[in-house]
Amino acid sequence: MRELHYESPTTVHEAVRALGRGDARALAGGTDLIVQLREGRRSAACVVDLKRIPELTAITQDADGSFRIGGAASFTQIAAHSKLATAYPGIAESGRLVGSHQIQNRAGLGGNICNAAPSADAVPIVICLSASAEIAGAHGRRTVAVEDLFAGPGQTRLAADEVLTSIRVPPVRPRSAGRYLRFTPRREMDIAVAGSGTWFCLGADGTIADARIVLASVAPVPLRAKAAEQSLIGKAPTPNVFTEAGRLAAREARPISDTRGSTEYRRELVAVLTKRALEACAHDLRIRMDGP
């Protein structure tokens, strides 16, 4: 491993300046980055630790009810935030899928996003919830939908001198629910063979007014299954409607075959997981699922 210089700025401005000197990477929990640097899968002359910047480790709720999750807040912090966990149980739950307690005490949502693994377990749910990424750089701040941040496996659209300062999750929509499910051969400490995050919102007439379905581990980036989403709109939430959405999501998935699963197996998982995640949302909304 190359020589490594360590910086621990206490303001976002200093962090951006340190990253701007070049050949540097932001360090949040470090549970991916430290291994990647050691194994030569990423290279940097400098790491810029974000955890001593108060804004980046805070979780706050704004007056409009939206939440701001600091880019370096850990999954343990996220799960312990009772207002966030009540508003969005799917966020805390997804974070609890990432590695062990040891990992969750360091790793967080910001790092899970910036590491840009297609299998990232905490990412589909925040895309389902229309979360945005608040980014600081040398030319000021900008906001981008989390959905639009991914360029490919391990690659984001952040510039080298930009910092993901926080993830903003909009206020809860009335009569809405979101859940993420994944499949792993082992229950703990494993990487998703496939995952599906689903969210929908009911209109005044009890039919689905809006929906999002986001798949993990079946494309180079977290993938929105837009045809499946569209199939739900205007329909009453029933098992048949959910099965059809699962079938369409499986068609939209673009999985590769690798050691964790074949293309065909992953598609099949997408169909099943999508249906079950939609059912979990219906359960949250106390919708009975015993009809066809």
Partner: protein, 158 residues
Amino acid sequence: MKSIVRCEINGEEHEVLADGRDTLLELLRERARLTGTKEGCSNGNCGSCTVLLEGAPVNACLVLAMEADGAQITTIEGVAANGALDAVQNAMIEHGGTQCGFCTPGIVLSAKALLARSSRPDTDEIRAAIAGNLCRCTGYDKIVAAVQAAAQAMEKGP
């Protein structure tokens, strides 16, 4: 590039010279000479190097030494008080929760962190708490029984 890292390990102030690439694991084993913390996989899967950082279990192989500046750390060497083993250590011996012993320091620290936040954990909570600590000798039943026994012993008091 080397710099000084100041941290508190098992209640004692330490000042060590660390390289930017050093992990907390290397700081503990090679600079502070506390070799009770074990190196297994070095990539965050096995949990052999689990220590408490500000009371929370972390993999010491996934923390840079520099990140530990100003931190309080507890390693397995800091668990026994004045030569007397603690409740988790005693229960691990009584229940045969250890074979080769390589994973044991990490498991003891994960269990201590669990018992600090939950005084009567059920078996699911215990299994989740030690999910990041792999034992390659045997199963986990005796370890789970030991953690439950330790919880009961701690409730009764010394």
